[in-house]
Symmetry: C2
Subunit: 219 residues, 2 copies
């Protein structure tokens, strides 16, 4: 249930925006398999979408040759460029616990032009250390250092009860985009975007979708 | 961009389903603040939705008293019950690297009735150990043990290039719901659901939404 706040930020419909990384992952997989050309119908079939939907979605990223097919590599380039994967983006992370440390170790961010500059934690034993190459600072330096670093993005991996306070600090430090892993609703000003990644809720949605599927089949 | 495959599994519209955990987190936050009664309009305002949307969404979980307001606790109970958080659900995890270990440590799953029974990894040094209380087994025991445990859910936290193979093994062991953290498109039979949690893509979507927002403001 990743969600941006309801600030209207683009002409592109949100469901389309949400599907773009899925197209990108799919096309990278196909390219790795040696596939050079594809079509909206082929993409639609593999991703269980309709060809019309795929054509409409890809038209937003400037790709409009439905009848002659698509070059897989060109389509990947267009998607990467549209999603801004070729611009570096700096972030700070707050909460260097298990999940926070896993994100500090995650090489996937670099592939998308994203860079975690530093992390903050209330655990004084962590301050001054480097974890997976990233410096960890005491939590009371969060606002000052984040403002000085000029990071536009913040990642929140603290327990739910601290998340709003951390969010407020990030906002006052000038952060305007927040990726929130805490299972809590964050209140932010209108010029700040929040995306929620509630991992346990994803599992619960999967589980409840399965149950509905089985009820439907059994009935 | 978490996505279930396109199997139609319920009469509830997917955007509604995706919003339900968000309502739940919001209401839990409000309850912790001492709030006992709320209304669709109040929820809509705080979550930047429309009141009509909120009313429609909540009607799916059996809550339909828009004019007299809602008991916050009752609404939480209805949402938890609807989402199946009161049924325990068993999972196995494949890939006990940084992210996998962070998920093994994550207490949030238990709050949602989810339980990771065991993890698997190709690193022989890990096999036989317990990490955060969960047993780790060698990867070559994945199919046999998962089938024996009867786990309906699988969590994939292996590198992208191994994800499809792991997915195939989970499916052959009888898993019918997969939470996939690898940034890759997985092909599954129609009776298996996949939800993708591509963390780096979430950051990229946040970043690109911010850019669009700023372009719009500057123009």
């Amino acid at each position: 249930m990743p969600e941006t706040s309801a600030v209207s930020c683009s002409a592109i419909p949100r469901p389309t925006l949400e599907r773009l990384p899925r197209y990108l992952n799919y096309l990278r997989t196909r390219r790795a398999e040696g596939c050079e050309q594809t079509s909206s119908s082929a993409i639609a079939q593999d991703l269980k979408l309709t060809a019309i939907q795929v054509r409409k979605d890809l038209a937003y990223v400037g790709s409009g040759k439905p009848r002659t097919g698509h070059s897989v590599s060109e389509l990947i380039d267009q998607l990467e460029s549209f999603l801004g994967y070729d611009d570096a983006k700096d972030a700070v992370l707050v909460g260097a616990g298990h999940l926070g440390q896993a994100l500090l170790a995650y090489h996937g961010f670099a592939d998308y032009g994203l860079n975690i500059l530093a992390a903050f934690d209330t655990d004084e034993a962590l301050a001054g250390q480097r974890i997976h190459g990233k410096p960890i600072f005491a939590a009371d330096r969060l606002i000052h250092l984040t403002a000085r670093l000029g990071a536009p993005l913040g990642i929140i991996t603290v327990p739910a009860k601290y998340a709003q306070d951390v969010c407020d600090q990030l906002v006052s430090a000038g952060v305007c985009g927040i990726l929130n892993f805490a299972p809590v609703h964050l209140t932010v000003p209108d010029n700040v975007l929040v995306r929620n990644v509630d991992i346990a809720a994803q599992m619960a949605l999967l589980s409840s979708s399965l149950r509905e599927l089985h009820i439907k089949r059994d009935s």
